[in-house]
């Protein structure tokens, strides 16, 4: 068991700086998800924790010990690769045993651990097979098994589910979460899939071009995104962004098609900033049909329907309000026709305001 602390971590390849300055405090027994778009440096950060990539600057400590110059094998970590990286010439059992043999684990102990891991992962019948005789999902389990037999103090996962089909991915997502709950091993999990991040992580670290944008529980990141990037990255369909200005001495905010009171949490930041440019953020789930009941303060807008996506349990409507396109989630039984107009209610309390210039959440 150990915590992982990154302090001012920097990574450059020659003249190219991939990570400028990364501070991240991963607690003992925590499931931390690093999420961000492709090329943002998630894998690089993970590989530095693993010791596969040299750290250009800053300090990395695992379990209170600075490990910048400690080789991977002495960091007490295990890693699951996106490609699984199973040894193709060894059977599943040999794959699981490889790390234990090298560490000269006694035979009895080794057998016990392999049996245990195989049972947890449901791969007991596959032990005699070679990797090429396994399905993608089974390979994935073996890769996880190889990590858990070692009983390391930190698990590192680099997009372990991205090669699986959608259904299997959902299943493995739950299994890995459950496994981590049982084993209570500190875990760093890299993904570019925000749903994986939301469903699996105790906390999420959102990254963009090598910079940490926000760290928090899934709910914190969802409800109080620190900036426009995080707001757009977390949630499907993504949050609506509408350029707007403060009016009435900062008591209201006006967009091209409508005007609404400034939500309570932003009042302090908006007061007296008449005319200041902001970006109003509204999640599609907070825009509903006028006919549907619901609590809280709302403003009514009229939208011209341009595009409709029926998903079965809900319908996503893209409607034009003033000059802006607004996406709303509506009742599946009342799917509007393209070209028609519908009345929508925007929940004022759930709206977010961002500074148009800095893109940061107002008042933070």
């Amino acid at each position: 068991m150990a915590d992982v602390i990154l302090e001012g971590i920097k990574k450059s390849y020659g003249a190219v700086t991939v990570i400028e300055h990364l501070d991240l405090d991963i607690r003992d027994q925590e499931f931390m998800v690093l999420v961000g778009p492709s090329g943002c440096g998630k894998s690089t950060a993970l590989r530095m924790i693993a010791g596969l990539e040299e750290i250009t600057g800053g300090t990395l400590s695992i379990g209170g010990r600075v490990v910048n110059d400690v080789p991977p094998k002495d960091r007490d970590i295990a890693m699951v690769f996106q490609s699984y990286a199973l040894y193709p010439h060894m059977t599943v059992r040999e794959n699981l045993e490889f790390g234990l043999k090298i560490r000269q684990t006694p035979r009895a102990e080794m057998d016990r651990r392999v049996r245990e891991a195989a049972e947890i992962l449901g791969i007991a019948e596959l032990l005699a097979r070679k990797p090429k005789q396994l399905s993608g999902g089974q390979r994935q389990r073996v890769a996880v098994g190889r990590a858990i037999v070692r009983k390391p103090s930190v698990f590192l996962f680099d997009e372990p589910l991205s090669n699986l089909d959608a259904k299997l991915r959902v299943q493995m997502r739950a299994e890995i979460s459950k496994l981590q709950k049982t084993l209570k091993t500190t875990t760093v999990y890299v993904t570019h899939d925000q749903i994986e991040a939301m469903t699996m992580g105790h906390r999420i670290a959102v990254m963009r071009s090598g910079q940490l944008q926000q760290v928090g529980t899934p709910l914190e990141v969802y409800e109080q995104p620190a900036n426009l990037f995080v707001a757009s990255f977390i949630g499907t369909p993504p949050m609506n962004f509408v350029p707007a200005t403060f009016t009435d001495g900062g008591a209201t905010v006006t967009a091209s098609g409508f005007k609404m009171p400034v939500p309570e949490p932003f009042r302090a930041a908006s007061a007296g900033r008449d005319g200041a440019k902001v970006v109003l953020g509204i999640r599609p789930e907070n825009v509903r049909e006028a006919s549907r009941e619901g609590g809280g303060e709302t403003v009514r807008v009229t939208a011209k329907v341009e595009f409709v996506e029926p998903l079965g349990h809900e319908v996503i409507v893209h409607g034009r309000v003033g000059d802006e396109l607004i996406v709303a989630k509506v009742d599946p039984h009342r799917s509007p026709r393209i070209g028609s107009t519908i009345d929508l209610m925007i929940e004022v309390g759930a709206a977010h305001l961002f500074d148009a210039a800095t893109e940061k959440r107002l008042g933070s």
Binding site: A50, P72, K73, F81, Y84, Y87, F98, I102, K132
Partner: protein, 293 residues
Amino acid sequence: MRPNRSEEPAHWPLHIFVLLMVLITVYPILWVVTIAFSGGQSLAITNVPANATFGERLRAIVPWPAHVSATNFVSLFRDQPFARWLLNSVVVAGMTTILGVALACTAAYAFSRFRFPGRRVGLMAFLVSQMFPGTLMLIPLFIILVQWLKLGSTFTGLVLIYTVTAIPFCVWMMKGYFDTIPKELEESALIDGASQATIFFRIILPLAKPAVAVTALFSFMTGWNEFIQAATFMNREDMYTGPVGLRFFVGGFSQQWGYFAAGSIVAAIPVMALFLFLQKYLVSGLTAGAVKG
């Protein structure tokens, strides 16, 4: 769906063509076999009279001995020192294989995985060395090996030459193969606690078996078949290798084509055996299943 049989082009012209090609390819070999088993030393199997009939002429070009006899083979080993020469070849080719494979594997691994000063230059140098014919090196090699190192007529000298001749090709070949082995396998092993040596011997080499097989075969054949350098550096008759010995039968004043043919056949056997033995390693696709398939 298969097209209707009657719509397919007829196969027999193709078969005849292939048969003809096989005949052309095999014909000279059949002659060697014929002469070897003829029991004589002559290149011809019958005497064609001055005014030969068509049948007599035809008989002269059909590779079949007048009477089959193994005396050439027996005498090759009993009356001639051919066994000794073959043994020399086995030693030289075997040593070349061992040394060549060991050096090529390790060098190629370094070229494939490590970045060090001189890497590009080294790889290019190997390639450039292949552009010159071996005969060009004969005189410098003679000066270095025989005059300076005093390694004339020794196994060490010949093995040294053959190994350095074989290595450039082997290194390129092995490097190409190592490049295809996913780096994650090594990283995974590294995290599992394996040392560089363990990774090389327990992960990389087993996966590179097909390439090692090709490298071994190539090194062996380099040592086994080479003639010019062996003839230049092996001056003592008891140090001759197989090919030099064969040449001895038909060079200068002797015209023992029977021994020559029989010897050629015997000399071909080890290479063929090695091919068959290594065949199962030559199948590629051993890395299948390492990563997502």
